[in-house]
Point group: C2
Chain length 122, copies 2
DNA sequence: CGGCATCCCATAGGATACTG
DNA sequence: CAGTATCCTATGGGATGCCG
């Protein structure tokens, strides 16, 4: 049984781009949280990540793999099947990502308000 | 009495660039931690931040100000004097930055080891 | 299915020099 | 002192199309 992913995180209405906290590159944080519930395949990752292109997703996964956050496993068989899973090191980032999410939930609108006011003032 | 800053944070031997956690732009996290101990002037910030150029420091401070993390105050008087201080919103990032630092202290060498191994394998 | 090859562009950020 | 002004480049990331 796989843990469902928080839908808000990928909601274009609340783009993570506005959150001034990033883990790795643009997609790494989301990827790691996608993998929290267990291994995922390449195309499974593309679904919640909607707008990510294969090239960029590959690059991000390779980077995560290189730094020991993610383990890539190509399963044998007639059909091609590749799995990505978190390593313990990758899992060590989960509390941080949860904290970042919590920060965003309680403070992001303050940021937005301040930005709006600053932009209106000039 | 101003709280001394952690020297390791700015040590080129442990460049924060390797830490896959960023708050805002390249310098924002360091700036915020520089301001933790109280208001600082422009040129005071340049000292721990050693390699930052004035242009980039200005840009980062403007961005932090725009988003309500930092308050800029130009004090009156014959000599020019500008102070930067954290707002409550800016302070709300401090626990996050502390967590990031803690992560780096306990896991950064794992990352480095994994990266080294991955680079040697290819 | 799980990518890679190619092209392209915007932006971040650094170097250097100058100023009110 | 606290910035601006210019210029320059690296790279992150997107678009598109092809492949075993």
């Amino acid at each position: 049984m796989r843990k469902p992913l928080d839908p808000d995180m990928f909601d274009p209405v609340c783009p993570s781009e506005l959150v001034p906290i990033r883990v790795g590159d643009k997609w790494a944080g989301l990827i790691i949280q996608c993998l929290e519930g267990g291994p995922r395949r390449f195309s499974e990752l593309r679904i919640p990540l909607r707008t990510v292109t294969p090239k960029v997703l590959t690059a991000s996964l390779r980077s995560l793999e290189r730094d020991g956050f993610v383990l890539r496993t190509a399963l044998p068989g007639p059909v091609r099947h590749v799995e990505y899973r978190l390593t313990p090191l990758g899992r060590s980032l989960l509390p941080l990502l949860a904290t970042a999410r919590a920060w965003a939930e309680t403070h992001l609108d303050e940021l937005l308000t301040a930005r709006e006011a600053a932009d209106r003032a000039r």
